[in-house]
């Protein structure tokens, strides 16, 4: 189990992580979400002692990271796929890591096989694509067969096959009772692999819950209807307090649930061809929740 308690990290007057606490349980993939600049990467760096903390602590099964003598056996970390010397071969990159933690050469070969880089292991990392570097980073994570795994944007630069592969890999790691913490901007991916979510904004915890709970709490719900008497029924719904948006085919209704709409249709002898409750995606829920925490806003341009 990974336990982060009251973590605070400041850079001068800027508070990057503000009294953050959360738990990553074993046997689950926990998604770590937040807008750009929300403090995800800083949190991960602080968790393993790369950045010093102003207050708080992180423990891995009760032990601080800096107290591990050979941490790769306990915690696997992938912070940036680019953290490899471009002039060194992938095999040598893994070998120096392995040697520092007393891991055998044969394990280096094993993890190269697992990530599919055996054939190119004697090629310099500088000649690797971003996707190959991600695989190399994951090989480094797996070296010590750790009980906890921390990954920052592991799917960055991967092709669809690579994304599927990493999805399956993370699920497998969690199924082996490891605690897996993974940050990603690919919310659709997170919705497919994560059991739990930790959402932060401006360095503070916004929520920690399961994915269905998160969507249930924060995503909008609406009812899709289709009827040959749509215009007439829309005005009935408006009078009942609903808000109707007519679409090319049918309409969507806000502020009324499907039961109420069905009863109103029956009462007013309106024929319904479709009556279905729809819910927003994880992305919708995430954007709804973090809209006030976004540090950097973009525009589509073209106007003043």
């Amino acid at each position: 189990m990974i336990l982060v308690e009251n973590m605070t990290k400041r850079f001068g007057k800027f508070t990057a992580v503000d009294d953050l606490s959360f738990v990553v349980n074993p046997g689950q993939v926990t998604g770590f979400l937040g807008p750009n600049g929300s403090g995800k990467s800083t949190t991960m760096r602080c968790m393993i002692g790369l950045d010093s903390l102003d207050s708080g602590s992180t423990t891995f099964n009760g032990q601080r990271y800096v107290d591990f003598r050979r941490p790769l056996h306990s915690v696997g970390v992938l912070l940036d796929a680019g953290n490899a010397h471009v002039g060194r071969t992938a095999r040598n990159h893994l070998r120096w890591l392995a040697q520092s933690n007393g891991i055998s050469k044969s394990r280096v070969d094993e993890v190269l096989e697992i990530v599919g880089l055996t054939d190119v292991s004697r090629r310099k990392v500088g000649k690797y694509s971003l996707g190959m570097k991600q695989r190399l980073g994951l090989a480094a994570v797996l070296l010590g067969d750790p009980r906890a795994v921390i990954l920052d944007e592991p799917a960055n630069g991967l092709d669809p096959e690579g994304i599927r592969w990493i999805r399956e890999m993370l699920k497998k790691l969690a199924s082996e009772d490891r605690a897996v913490l993974v940050s990603s901007h690919l919310l659709s991916e997170i919705s497919l692999i994560a059991d739990n979510l930790i959402v932060i904004g401006k360095g503070r915890l916004i929520d920690q819950c399961s994915v269905p709970d998160f969507i249930g709490r924060y995503a909008q719900r609406w009812v899709r209807i289709e009827s040959p008497q749509l215009t007439e029924f829309a005005s009935i719904l408006e009078r009942a307090g609903g808000r109707t948006e007519l679409q090319t085919s049918g309409a969507i209704v806000h502020n009324l649930d499907a039961t109420t709409i069905g009863e109103l249709a029956a009462k007013n002898s309106v024929v319904l061809h479709q009556l279905a409750t729809e819910t927003g995606s994880l992305e919708d829920a995430f954007l709804e929740l973090t809209s006030s925490s976004v540090e950097y806003h973009g525009t589509l341009g073209g106007g003043k």
Partner: protein
């Protein structure tokens, strides 16, 4: 700790630029000695010929070993592997000690090998050319030992500078400009203004002079001067350790 030492040594030898530096450090004195032994007139050969050649080219090698020390640390920052290094070994002091140990061991082996090769090759060529006199100055061995020790200290100094600056160009510039420009300027200014020779008090000035054959005028003696340079090195190394430990990676 042995695993960490092996890991750091693998890092050092698995990058071509480091190997190039090591080859340059070794090659310069050897090539110089070979050229001198081939082209010098046999009647001009004396007991100081080979030692002087080794020591003058060796001083350049010494700086190259220093650059190797710089790269040993700064490459980690320029290539962003420092995060991986410190994630694999959270005890930063151990990492720093392992880097120092690798540079000290590599510098010792490299420069000892260079000296032995130069003496052997130089003498062999001179013998083949018909030189039958004594080519070994009585102080040659002491100057060779001083050259190896000074090189090792400059290597450690490079590690310290690398840890302080984290930036290869800055650390290499400091390492080269310090002896070649700053100390020369300071020495000349003081000599011009106060008519005093302070070369013995300048760290690199003391280290370079300690490797010379004749050291009669050296204030602290050969190994005293190396000790003096060692104190400067120790100070830089300690500052580097404090910086490495206190800064975010």
């Amino acid at each position: 700790m042995i695993g960490l030492f092996r890991s750091e040594f693998l890092k050092l030898r698995s990058v071509r630029s480091n190997l190039t530096m090591a080859i340059a450090a070794a090659g310069l004195p050897i090539v110089g000695t070979v050229l001198v032994a081939i082209f010098i007139s046999v009647k001009d050969v004396g007991e100081t010929t080979i030692p002087r050649m080794i020591n003058s080219a060796g001083n350049v090698s010494m700086l190259i070993v220093g650059i190797l020390g710089v790269l040993c640390v700064t490459q980690e920052y320029s290539q962003s592997t420092i995060r991986l290094t410190l994630a694999a070994t959270p005890n930063r002091f151990s990492v720093y000690v392992a880097k120092l140990a690798v540079i000290i061991a590599s510098g010792t082996v490299l420069m000892t090998g260079v000296v032995i090769a130069c003496v052997a090759v130089g003498n062999a060529i001179l013998s083949a050319r018909g030189f039958s006199g004594d080519s070994t100055h009585p102080d040659a061995q002491a100057s060779y030992v001083a050259l190896v020790l000074a090189s090792v200290l400059v290597g450690a100094l490079g590690v310290g500078l690398g840890a302080i600056t984290r930036n290869p160009p800055s650390a290499i510039a400091i390492l080269l400009l310090w002896p070649l420009l700053v100390e020369v300027l300071i020495g000349n200014i003081v000599a011009a203004v106060f008519s005093r020779n302070i070369l013995d008090w300048l760290p690199f000035g003391a280290a370079f002079q300690a490797t010379f054959l004749e050291i009669e005028d050296l204030k602290f003696g050969r190994f005293g001067s190396l000790g003096y340079f060692g104190l400067w090195t120790l100070a830089i190394v300690l500052i580097g350790q404090v910086v490495l430990r206190s800064r975010d990676a």
